[in-house]
């Protein structure tokens, strides 16, 4: 076996993975990431692999942009835990900054996700593509795809 072939077969890969999502439809439709409690890590789906880390990260970012172009943001507010509270606050602030119609909140904090989804149901028709894109701007850190280093087995 040539040295080059051995090097190629044992090469380091940068694997682009997508977070796995489940759906909860008890209070309107909401998507949530799936956590593997045993390993304390998100479950993922392999998407594409690169020998070059930068290319992998570029790919992950580009795929995230694709998701943001089609996914209604309120689908991601599932429950009123701490993380979702922060997410909801950021979305509320963004809606106000963009001077979009106000959200009517119910008194129950745990229904906040449903409040955002109802707002979307009421107003999505009148939002332009630019406004929908602008809503995503504070959420660039919300990643759907990430990069993981692995070895390629022969």
């Amino acid at each position: 076996m040539s040295i080059n072939k051995t090097a190629q077969q044992n090469s380091t890969l940068y694997l682009v993975v997508r977070n796995s999502y489940g759906v909860n439809d008890h209070a309107g439709i909401a998507y949530y990431t799936i956590m593997n409690e045993e390993l304390n890590e998100l479950s993922t789906v392999p998407v594409r692999a690169f020998t070059d880390k930068t290319s992998a990260e570029d790919c992950a970012r580009q795929l995230d942009e694709e998701v943001r172009a089609t996914l209604p943001l309120p689908l991601l507010i599932a429950e009123s835990d701490d993380e979702n509270e922060a997410f909801a606050s950021l979305l509320l602030k963004r809606i106000q900054e963009l001077q979009l119609p106000q959200i009517v909140f119910s008194k129950k904090r745990y229904e906040r996700g449903a409040d955002f989804r109802n707002w979307w149901i009421q107003h999505a028709t009148n939002l332009t593509a630019a406004q929908k894109a602008a809503l995503w701007e504070p959420f660039q850190e919300t990643r759907f795809h990430t990069v993981r280093e692995m070895k390629l087995e022969d």
Partner: protein
């Protein structure tokens, strides 16, 4: 006949649609690489056939937040008129709220439409897409081995809805399959041992739900897998996967 560039390939990808019930499907982030072709013509033929299969079973207005905004660029009233002018009768306005209930209309009527009517009914819904074709340079592929993680709901074991724990990526399908088969046999033996230890009652041998988890080689638009266990609708350890292989493109390798 067109001359194809031998360096190019045409990959058909399926957007991440998953079944929720008989007619309801959700589109989740991402896509799955389904097949690759040397010619655009072959890819388009495959694409059209698969897209038609999906359209035959999916209610396009169900499973989304704000229909018809997520289905079409047409304003709702214009869409209503569009259907009316073509002989459909979307009598779907709720008398109390005045809102349109597109999903119910589709559910109640689409079964009686002819294939031509079905084709026409999908015509304005260009935002709903199940597959796409990506043209690009031919690339090597690898095979990721994924462990499916199972949870327990105090009654049955159920799989995560997609993905799992990615353990290895292989260069060859043969090696990936060997490893998958070995791991599946090991996992199955462990589960059967657990079942024997705990002495589960009648349902014990069939303690796995699938919950619309896609089995390898199937699409979300195929009929759901039916259990032989009519009472519980569950499966045995021998009938469910614990590990699966997902083909991925390897960029930078020949």
């Amino acid at each position: 006949m067109s001359i194809e560039n031998p360096q190019l390939q045409y990959v058909v990808e399926r957007f991440n649609w998953r079944r929720r019930d008989k007619k309801t499907f959700h589109r989740f982030p991402g896509f799955t690489r389904v097949a690759s072709f040397d010619t655009k013509e072959d890819a388009e033929q495959f694409y059209r056939a698969e897209e038609a299969k999906a359209r035959a079973v999916v209610n396009p207005f169900s499973g989304t937040l704000a229909p018809p905004t997520e289905q079409t660029d047409l304003p709702e009233a214009v869409l209503y008129d569009w259907y009316l002018e073509r002989g459909f009768e979307p009598r779907i306005k709720d008398q109390k709220t005045g809102k349109y209930d597109w999903a119910t209309w589709w559910n109640q009527n689409s079964q009686s439409w002819t294939p031509e009517q079905m084709l026409q009914a999908w015509e304005p819904l260009h935002r709903i897409q199940f597959y796409r074709i990506i043209e690009g340079p031919k690339r090597a592929v690898g095979y990721a081995l994924v462990q499916i993680n199972w949870g327990y709901n105090d009654e049955w074991y159920y799989p995560e809805e997609e993905g799992g724990t990615i353990t290895k990526v292989f260069r060859t399908l043969e090696k990936a399959e060997q490893e998958r088969d070995l791991q599946n046999r090991t996992s199955m033996a462990e589960w059967q041992e657990i079942a024997a230890d705990f002495g589960y009652e009648e349902a014990g041998a069939n303690q796995f739900e699938l919950n619309f988890r896609l089995l390898p080689g199937t699409t979300p638009f195929d009929p759901p897998i039916q259990s032989a266990n009519e009472e519980f609708g569950t499966f045995s350890a021998a009938e469910v996967p614990f590990w699966e292989i997902i083909e991925i493109e390897l960029e930078g390798l020949k």
